[in-house]
């Protein structure tokens, strides 16, 4: 068990150490400074923009940014619907999988456009190779959309004028070519050399030692799994995601996949510090997020390594922990760690089945998505956290009787209204969705895989995962039917775009305001005290909003097992 704990610590430590230099690189890329890859990619990007008729140097204001973002996302969504519904007759379908139904294609297309990857289908039978490749394209561009949105915020906080916030298409494309693509090539190569398939041959057959004939699904897995993690998308090539021994063949690939899903969200925090030349602020954000992460992660690892008390009562050797839904090569500690990392970061890939984790571990996974601000997904993590910073600035301003200011700009009623709408939308979508599902048991209860409190947790998890754009699930839930496909589909759209539009709008409005130089009377927003204030705001909002729902699900299940 000790080596399992060391493995987890090593994974986390390596990621943090690498995040600082990588953050510096990201900041350079977005500031337009010289980097190593200029010679390869500048001509290529110029070619892309010439074909598309886009002037990459044409600056946009925040409204133009949002229009450009929504337009291109809509194009991707329609194209996704078309490919998924017609994959049956389109090329690259060696396994002969049928086209998706309209409601499933709606859900799948949206969830990949919004970086969620909820996946109400199973990779082996639900999509063709062409669809897998198209979804992989969405994994690149949806992550890049989030990163571009975060950079609009960075630029707005740096600039003194509000109409020169860079070009959306340029920010989106360089996120793909300069950051996601090179990293994906490295990660995919490591995976391929460790036994992850990268082939277009379709299913293979083998006869097992006991004489059963077994079909083995392969495919272009390595390329897919790399970007699934680097872009914090999380949608697996196979049904069981990174628990599958071809998608995650050994402990090394597990460490690499874990590293690649955490690196960009962590590096973006440091990139903010380098970009704005406010390293202290980046440290404050990093500390608050890390504290939140550890508070969720450490107890989960303990509960998972202790194992299921109900099975312990049967008298077997519990040395390896809660092994239902877990893989022997990864172990319970690494799976417990992964379950929190993936929910905190909005990846939603899994290397163990969350449905079978301990009740309170399930609660921690839910809380990680309910706060949705500790590290967070590619780009959007920073945007979510920014909303909490604005709230904390306002509240602490009121407490000490000073005008609320952030980086020399006054926070006023309009910004506060936007921030409150964004902060309250998240609990509203989760709780209203779950309440609706619970109100129609004649439709929804047949989809549950477990009775009682745990069944309620399955529904709560599905809506939480949708609203956090996470994509993991209590996968026992039978979610491929119109009810779940359509309700979660709409939650996905709202919970993706409003939390992007809100912070970008605030940033745009702030950039327009007069700059007030910092003085002795200014509330410092990079101090430890302010960090605690942000933490308190996050805890209060999540605790007050979600505690009743958690009581009905995981907490009740925990007490029922004692």
């Amino acid at each position: 068990m000790n080596t399992e704990i060391f493995g987890v610590i090593a994974m986390y430590a390596i990621t943090i150490l690498m995040a600082v230099p990588f953050g510096k690189y990201i900041a350079k890329v977005y500031a337009g400074e010289k980097t190593l890859l200029d010679n390869i990619f500048t001509p290529l990007e110029n070619l892309f923009f010439r074909i598309s008729g886009i002037d990459r140097k044409a600056d946009m204001n925040w409204k133009q940014h949002l229009v450009a973002m929504l337009t291109i996302n809509f194009v991707w969504f329609l194209l996704g619907m078309f490919v998924l519904m017609n994959q049956g007759w389109l090329p690259l379908n060696p396994d002969g999988n049928p086209g998706q139904t309209a409601d499933l294609a709606f859900n799948t297309s949206i969830s990949f456009v919004v970086n969620c990857n909820l996946q109400h289908y199973s990779g082996e039978s639900g999509v063709s190779y062409l669809s897998q490749l198209f979804l992989m394209f969405l994994q690149f561009v949806s992550a890049a959309t989030g990163m571009a949105a975060a950079v609009i915020l960075f630029i707005a906080l740096k600039q003194k004028t509000a109409d020169k916030l860079g070009n959306f298409y340029n920010l989106m494309l360089i996120s793909c070519t300069r950051i996601l693509l090179p990293a994906s090539i490295v990660v995919a190569s490591i995976l391929a050399f460790n036994g992850t398939p990268m082939t277009f041959n379709g299913k293979d057959t083998m006869i097992s030692m006991q004489g059963d004939t077994v079909s083995v699904s392969t495919g272009p897995v390595a390329a897919f799994v790399a970007i699934k993690h680097l872009g914090t998308n999380g949608g697996g090539f196979y049904g069981t995601n990174s628990a599958h021994p071809l998608e995650n063949p050994n402990y090394l690939t597990n460490m690499v996949e874990m590293f690649s899903q955490m690196i960009i969200p962590l590096a973006m925090i440091f990139a903010l510090g380098f970009f704005l030349k406010r390293k202290k602020m980046a440290r404050m954000i990093f500390s608050v997020m890390t504290l939140g992460f550890l508070l969720l992660c450490v107890p989960t690892i303990i509960w998972e390594t202790q194992g299921n008390p109900a099975i312990a009562q049967m008298g077997v050797d519990m040395g390896s922990g809660a092994m239902e839904g877990k893989e022997a090569r990864l172990g319970s500690a690494a799976s417990g760690f992964w379950s929190i990392a993936t929910t905190v970061i909005s990846t939603g890939s899994v290397n163990a089945m969350h449905d079978s984790t301990m009740p309170l571990s399930g609660m921690m996974q839910l809380l990680a998505m309910m706060t949705n601000a500790f590290y967070g997904g590619c780009g959007v993590g920073i945007l979510n956290f920014f909303v909490f910073i604005i709230l904390a600035v306002f509240i602490s301003g009121l407490m000490v009787g000073r005008t609320p200011e952030f980086l020399g700009k006054k926070i006023e009623g309009r910004e506060m209204k936007i921030a409150m709408i964004v902060a309250l939308l998240h609990p509203l979508l989760i709780l209203a969705g779950t309440a609706l599902a619970a109100a129609f048991p004649q439709i929804t209860s047949a989809n549950l895989n477990n009775p009682g409190f745990h069944g309620f947790s399955e529904m709560l998890y599905e809506y939480t995962s949708s609203a956090a754009n996470n994509g993991s699930g209590f996968e026992g839930l039978g979610d491929n039917n119109p009810w779940w496909n359509i309700t979660t589909g709409f939650i996905l759209i709202l919970s993706r775009f409003i939390p992007i539009i809100g912070p970008v709008a605030i940033a745009g409005l702030l950039a327009n305001k007069k700059y007030i130089p910092e003085s002795a009377g200014t509330l410092r927003t990079d101090s430890a005290t302010f960090g605690m204030m942000v933490m308190a705001v996050i805890v209060i909002i999540t605790a007050l909003s979600f505690f009743p729902a958690l009581t009905l699900g995981p907490i009740a299940e925990y007490f029922s097992m004692r």
């Binding site: 080596t3 399992e4 060391f6 493995g7 090593a10 892309f48 923009f49 598309s52 008729g53 886009i54 450009a68 194009v75 194209l79 082996e124 992989m136 690149f140 793909c176 090539i185 391929a192 050399f193 036994g195 398939p197 990268m198 083998m206 006869i207 097992s208 030692m209 006991q210 077994v214 083995v216 390595a222 390329a223 049904g239 069981t240 628990a243 021994p245 063949p249 402990y251 194992g307 109900a310 049967m314 008298g315 077997v316 050797d317 390896s320 922990g321 809660a322 239902e324 839904g325 877990k326 893989e327 022997a328 899994v350 449905d355 079978s356 895989n449 009775p451 745990h454 209590f474 299940e557």
Partner: protein, 185 residues
């Protein structure tokens, strides 16, 4: 909207070509250098081909058994049980697995059965078990094959894979390679 729609469509087409064709082609080319040309790791024995990382259903007494699987080791449709920890129906299944194990392994104490041998894996295709889970089966396998327990224990010992760099992650035994070696004894 109008100024954006055509650039958006055109940019989508070029990036689509780049990320759906060029990127996978690059990875595919790199994978040609990898072991078994990117088809996944394969073991061949007696003219038969097995995927090293895909677990198989080993249920007979003369083999080291693999972990329970919710999909019966169907490598074209992976899946876990997704049973909640308090589900009474699930707990009854676990109890039944313990009873079955004790029946097939006389002389083994219940407290020596590692929990992973009575719980289903996440993928349903878990190729590995822990060293403890292999050692607890030695007595049964030795009896079924009429070989000495020492010899089998030694075989298990030589198939224990150490953690990564000796430090990270659990020890494990690949059930397929252990059983292949067992057949050669």
């Amino acid at each position: 909207m109008k100024t954006n729609i055509f650039p958006a469509i055109k940019l989508t087409i070029v990036t689509l070509l780049f990320f759906c064709v060029v990127y996978p082609a690059v990875i595919w080319a790199i994978a040609q250098l990898a072991p078994n040309n990117g088809h996944g790791e394969v073991v061949t024995a007696n003219g038969k081909k097995y995927y090293a990382n895909i677990g198989q259903a080993f249920t007979e007494d003369r083999f080291f058994n693999s972990r329970p699987s919710a999909v019966d080791y169907n490598a074209a449709g992976s899946g876990g049980s997704n049973k909640g920890p308090s589900n009474p129906e699930y707990l009854a299944i676990v109890q039944a697995r313990i009873d079955t194990f004790l029946m097939h392994n006389p002389g083994i104490d219940k407290k020596d059965i590692p929990v992973e041998l009575v719980t289903a894996s996440g993928s349903g295709l878990d190729p590995d078990i822990s060293p403890k889970a292999a050692l607890v089966q030695v007595k049964r396998v030795a009896a079924a094959r009429k070989l000495s327990e020492e010899k089998i224990t030694e075989l298990v010992g030589s198939h224990i894979e150490k953690p990564l760099l000796g430090m990270f992650g659990p020890e494990k035994v690949n059930v397929l390679s252990l059983n292949l070696a067992l057949e050669k004894l």
